[in-house]
Amino acid sequence: MSTQIISVLVEDEAGSLTRMSGMFSRRGINIHSLTVSPSEKEGMSRMTIVTTGDEREIEKIEKQLNKLIEVVKVNILDKNTSVVRDLCLLKVYADKENRAEVLEIANAFKSNIVDISIRTITLEITADPLDIDRFVETMKNFGIKELFRTGVTAISRDIEKKSGG
C-alpha cells in the first residue's frame, strides 16, 4: 500500500465533484486529500486526489474514474517525476519564552510568518507534503492552536529525452 497521486481533468459540470467523490466512497476507497482548481483548458477543472492502494487497486480506480462521463483524462503521477506541493497554514502557541525557538525552526523550514499575536504566531509553508508533515510534527512541541492544509496538488515534470543514439 503506497500513497498515490491521481490527477484528473474533468469537465466543469454541476455535480462533477460529487460524482467523483461518490465513486470513491461507493467503491470503499479512502480519499486522503482532494483539491479542485481551474485548468489550462477552458471549461475544465483539474482535481488532484491523494489515495492509497497497490498497483492493482490504483488501476481499478483509474478505470472507474475513466468511466465517469465528465472525466476527460486520468493521470497517475509518478512521485519521482512530479513536482508535488501542499500548502499549510499553522497557528502555533509562542510566548515570550519560546518565541525565538519557534521562529528559528520556522526559518529552518523556510516558512513565512503571516501573523503574530501576543500568544501565537501564524506560519505559512508551501512544500512537499512529507516536509510539511515534519514541520507540523516539530511544531506540535509548542502546541498547535489551528492547522489548515490545502491538500496536495501536483504536476508532472517534462523529462528531456536524450538525443542521439
Binding site: 454541476a14 455535480g15 460529487t18 492493482r56 481499478k60 478505470k63 472507474q64 468511466k67 462521463i69 465528465e70
Partner: protein, 565 residues
Amino acid sequence: MSGGLKGTEIVVKCLKEENVKNIFGFPGGQLIPLYDQLFEETDIRNILVRHEQGAAHAADGYARASGEPGVCMATSGPGATNLITGLLNATMDSIPVVAFTAQVPTKAIGTDAFQEADTFGITMPITKHNFLVKSTDHLSWTIKGAFKIANTGRKGAVVIDLPNDVQQKTSKEYHHGEVKFAGYNPSIVPNPLQLKRIAQKLVEAERPLILAGGGVILANASEDLRILAEYLGAGVATTLMGKGAIPENHPLSLGMVGMHGRLGANKMINNCDVLFVIGCRFSDRTTGWGLESFAPDAVKIHCDIDSSELNKNITVDFPLVGDANLVIKDLIKFIKKYEDVKKDTNIWRKRVNQLHGMCEECETIKPNGKLTPENIIKTINDFLDDNAIVTTEVGQNQMFAAHYYVTKKPRQFISSGGLGTMGFGFPAAIGAKVAKPDSQVLDIAGDGSFLMVCQELATAMAENIPVVVAILNNSFLGMVRQWQELFWDKRYSGTKLGTIPDFVKLAESFGAYGERVEKASDIEKALKNAFDSGVVSVLDFKIESETNILPMIPPGGRIIGRIFV
C-alpha cells in the same frame, strides 16, 4: 410570440428523433406540462402505470425485449424516488433506460418545496449518468446526449431531471446531429493484436469452454457465438443474464453456471483448458466465492465492453476490451486462418454433448403427477412457441425458471440479475409485450414477488396488454425460507406468507382472468385458458410449501465445492 419551441415540444421532438414509440409513466403536479404535451400525441403511446416502479421495470423489460432504449417518466419527489429501484435494476444489468423526472421550478430548487427531492443527487450513484436541466436552451442537447449515453458502450439507465419551468419555457436552441462529450467515447473496437493472441489460444485448446454473459445478448452476437462454438467444438455455459445467448436445445449448450447452476456446466468450467468469457462480469453468483478455484487450470480469456470489469473480480491471462459482436466476428476470421494448427476437440465435444443431454439434478425429483415447479415449467416449455418471452421474478421462481425453462433465442428470457429485484418480472412482462405485441409473454412468478407489483394488473387491463402470470405459490418467501431451512436451523423468521391473498379473486377484481391449479394434469389446460382469455391472466399454481431449488452452492462455497442435490 417569441418563436422557438416550448420545452415539452422539444422533449417530444427529440423522442421522435430517437424513434421512441412508447413511454411508461405516471403523472404528478410538476409533470403536468409534459403530460399535456403528450395528450394528443398519436405517434407516442403513453402507458399509464399504477406505480412508478412499474414504469421503470416496464421500460427495462421493453428495452430487453426490443433492443431499443426503454423510456419512463415520473413526477418530482416521490414519483422520482419510486423509480429508483427500477433504474438501479437496469443499470446493474446494463439495460438502456432513459427516465424523465419532473422537478420543482428552478427558482424553488433548494427551498424544500412541496414534492421536491434532490433527484440529481439521489440518482447519481444508481445510474450510468444523470442530468439536471437548468435551461430550456440545453434541453435538446441533454436529451440526445442522454440517449447516446444510455445506449452506447456499456449500456445503462440515464435520468433527465426537468424542472417545471424548463418544460414550459420556449427556446430557439435545438441541437442537430450527434452530441459529443469530451470524456465519453467508449472503445468498442477490439485490439487486433490481442484478438490474434486469443484466436491462437482458442485453436490450441483441447477442451475449450465459452462462458457467455448478458453482453452477448445486448450486442446481438448470439448467432456468431453459435458459429464460433461449433467451429471450436466448445461447450457453451451461460450466466443468468446470458440465458438465450445460445439456443439451450443446442447440443453444445451446457446451461447456466454458478450458485444454482447446472452441475454439468460447473463441472466443465473446472475441466476446460481454455475458458473464453465474453460479456460477463464474474458476479459472485456466477463464480462462487473461492475465486482462485474458478477454472483453476484454464487459460482465461475475458472480453468485455467495459474495461473496468477486466481483472476486477478475476485475474485473467488475456483481457480484451470490445463489443461482443465485433470481438466474436473478428475472432471467427482470425481462427479460420489458423485452421491447420487447430487441435482436435472431438472427445471434449462428445463430453459436452453428453452433459447437454443429461441433467442429473433434473432426475432427482421424479415426475409423480404432483404439481411441482419442474412440472409446471416443463409444461410451459412445451406450451409456448419459439417466439415466446419469459420473464421471472426473483427467488426460487427465478432459479426454477433459469434451470428448467429452455430458452431458444436471445431476448426471450428476461430476469433481474444484478439487483435481484422482487416485483420485476410482471411489469417487465408488460414492457416486453408492448415491445413484442405478437409474442406470447409469460412471467414465472412467486407469490411474494407478484404481490409487490400486482397493482399493474390495472395497467395491463386498461392498456390491453395480455400477459400471463404463472405464480409458483408456496405461501412462503421461498428462497429465504430455503436458506433458513439449510443454514438457519429452519427458523422461518419473516418468511411465512400464508394463503393471503386469494390470487384468483384478486385477478378477477381487476377484470383479469384468474385460475387456481392444484393438479399437474391441469397445467396445460390452465395455460391454454389464460392465453385464450385475451386479457392479462393470473395462474395460481399451488405448489408444496417447502420445495427447494437444487443444486446450490452453499454461501461461502466454491463452484467445485459441496453441491446439494
